[in-house]
Symmetry: C2
Subunit: 105 residues, 2 copies
């Protein structure tokens, strides 16, 4: 009955992988795997939903308009809706795993 969030961590993913684990009214839980991926140059996420996100494996650097944050396993951050952010960097050649909870209020 339980599943493991770390299974099927494919190596050499051509693109970032986002898999929805739970989808409900006002809530979506995703596992995201970034294989050295970063947001394209000049791209900023600007989302309608709030996002609570934690790094589970490896590491990432998130950038907001006025601050950069380094994230390794266990680090989490709450990103309010409409707060611009981008992924500057993730560990090269390793499957950086994130847990993301998107929600509305």
């Amino acid at each position: 009955m339980p599943s493991n969030i770390f299974v099927d961590l494919l190596s050499h993913l051509p693109e970032e992988l986002a898999q929805t684990l739970i989808s409900a009214d006002n809530l979506r839980i995703q596992r995201i795997v970034s294989h050295g991926h970063a947001s394209p140059e000049g791209f900023w996420y600007d989302q309608d939903q709030h996002e609570w996100v934690m790094v589970l494996k490896w590491a990432a650097r998130l950038r907001f308009e006025n601050v950069t944050v380094e994230m390794s396993p266990g680090y989490f951050v709450n990103i309010p809706a409409d707060k611009k952010h981008r992924v500057e960097w993730t560990t090269p050649d390793e499957p950086t795993s994130w847990l993301a909870v998107f929600y509305t209020t």
Copy 2:
């Protein structure tokens, strides 16, 4: 700005620790630390909210009315509202860490 879910894992907690990280309409994200704790004999959780829960560190055994599930880091399970469950066992003398997302639909 980011926080780490593994900091302040006190040893020898007298009781299970539940700390709310985010509380919003229809959503509550908690970090739970079980230091060898289990549900009291005969006790069953029977919750109004759904709960998506994952083990982050160490291990646990969850029991439902007709199945027992062993959980180690990365294992997650979605527990619908009103589905009876209990914690049968967590790693003795270590801070088993859970991430729990309670939500309504």
